[in-house]
Structure formats: C-alpha cells, structure tokens
C-alpha cells in the first residue's frame, strides 16, 4: 500500500485501539465513548481497505450500538468486580496472543485487487442473489429485535 494508505491505517488503527481500551477498561458511561471511537476507527480501516460500502454500514451499525447502550439504565450498567474479571482478562489476553501468532505466522495468497473502492452494485448482487439466505437471516434477527423492543416498551408503559 502507498504512503497515504499507510498514514491512514496508522491513524485509524490508533483510534480503534484507543476506543477498544476505553470500552474495555473504563466504566459504564465511558464505554459508549469507546464504542463510538471504535465505530469511527473500524469504518476508517474498512475505507482504507477499499471497502467503502462496508465502512458506511459498519459506522451506522456500531454507532447505533453505542447509542443503544447509552440508553441502558445505570443499575443495569453496573458490573461486579472480582475473580471473574481477572479470569476474563487472562482469557482475552490468551485469545489475542493466539490470534496474533496465527496472523504473524500465516502464509497468505497474494491476490490482485480490482474490485474498486465502493462497488456497491456488485455487493448488492451478492447480497440479494447468491447469499440471500444470510441477508434474510439478518433481516429476521433485526425484525425480532425490533418487535421485542416494541413489545417490552408497551408492557412497560402499562
């Protein structure tokens, strides 16, 4: 990749890593800020990878996740401290080490990229023809989430 791409990668990677650290280590309300930073960073990284459409979808989805988590009442956002936290940290560290080792040691096929920056037409063809079942499943999951949320809000109002 050329210099501009490299600079963009390091900038967005820094934003992503900072957001991940804020989300993982700080307390409830700060976590939303971390998720917002991760949304911006991941969208930038995807844009740097010539995946413009995926970048926009990811920015909207992860941004919406951050806003939804902001809606959680403070009581639900409190978390217990203790042994579970330490075990979780150790396991997450092991997961990172394993993934980093695999990424570093792997041998990759050197492909030639010619799909363009956005290519939303080709993506749409894939999403709505060959992999339509995946899109239907996703639509079903979003519908269930929406209907359940609506129902719970109604019951709460009664």
């Amino acid at each position: 990749m050329d210099t501009l791409h490299s600079v963009l990668f390091y900038a967005f990677a820094a934003v992503t890593v900072a957001g991940g650290l804020v989300a993982a280590l700080l307390e409830a309300r700060s976590r939303v800020l971390g998720l917002g930073l991760v949304a911006i960073g991941v969208a930038g990284l995807l844009g740097d990878l010539d995946a413009g459409f995926a970048a926009i979808v990811t920015l909207v989805s992860l941004g919406a996740c951050a806003i939804l988590i902001l809606q959680l009442p403070q009581a639900a956002a409190e978390e217990p401290n203790g042994f579970g936290q330490q075990l979780g940290a150790a396991l997450a560290g092991l997961v990172f080490l394993a993934l980093a080792y695999v990424a570093f040691k792997g041998s990759y096929f050197g492909g030639g990229w010619n799909a363009g920056l956005f290519n939303s037409a080709a993506l749409g063809r894939l999403l709505f023809t060959r992999d339509a079942l995946s899109v239907e499943s996703l639509g079903g999951a979003l519908l269930v989430a929406l209907v359940t949320s609506r129902r719970l809000v109604r019951e709460r109002r009664r």
Binding site: A13, T16, V17, G20, A24, A28, L35, V38, V42, L45, L46, L49, A51, F53, A54, V57, T58, S61, L62, A64, C65, L68, I69, Q71, L72, P73, A76, A77, E79, P80, G84, Q85, L87, L91, A92, G93, F96, L99, A100, A103, Y108, F109, G110, G111, G112, W113, N114, N119, L126, L127, S134, L138, A141, L142, V144, A145, L146, S149, L152, R156
Partner: protein, 90 residues
C-alpha cells in the same frame, strides 16, 4: 513502512480480544453486550483485510459482504439485549 495484511489482522485480533474481555468478565450481566460489537467489528476488519489482500480475482467481495452481515448482526444483538437488560433491571 508498507502496510500489509498482518497489520490489519493485528488490529482485528486486538478488537476481538477486547470484546471477548468485556463479554467474559460480565458473562452473567447485560453490560457484556458492549463486547459483541467490538468482537464483530474486529472480525469484520479481518474479513475485509483477507478479501483485500489474499483472495484471487474470483469472489473478491465475499469478505466485505460478511463484514456487513456481522455489523448488522451486532446491531440486532445489542438492540435486543439492551431492551431485555432494561426490563430485568426494573
């Protein structure tokens, strides 16, 4: 310094591990939900990086496609989870 697939995979691995940390340390509680978008965002970066650097001329967009689906799935999980968490905390 030239940026290659390994750089992107490292960032994706970090995000996945950070999400796993959030999910694992609050496995019994709803705030673990914040880890789901992190994990799926990291997976999306990895998938798009593999699509960009390590696929042949055939089917180059498959990684981006599943990155999109992963982002949408994260939104569905968080939408449902936050509502259930709000209800159970009452």
């Amino acid at each position: 310094m030239s940026v290659g697939i390994v750089h992107f995979l490292f960032v994706g691995a970090f995000l996945f591990a950070a999400g796993a940390f959030l999910v694992a340390r609050r496995a019994a509680g709803p705030p673990g939900l914040a880890g789901v978008p992190l994990m799926l965002g990291g997976a999306g970066v990895d998938l798009a990086a593999i699509a960009r650097f390590a696929t042949g001329t055939h089917d180059q967009l498959a990684g981006q496609e599943f990155a999109i689906i992963a982002a949408g799935f994260a939104l569905a999980v968080v939408a449902l989870g936050t509502r259930l968490a709000a209800e159970t905390s009452r």
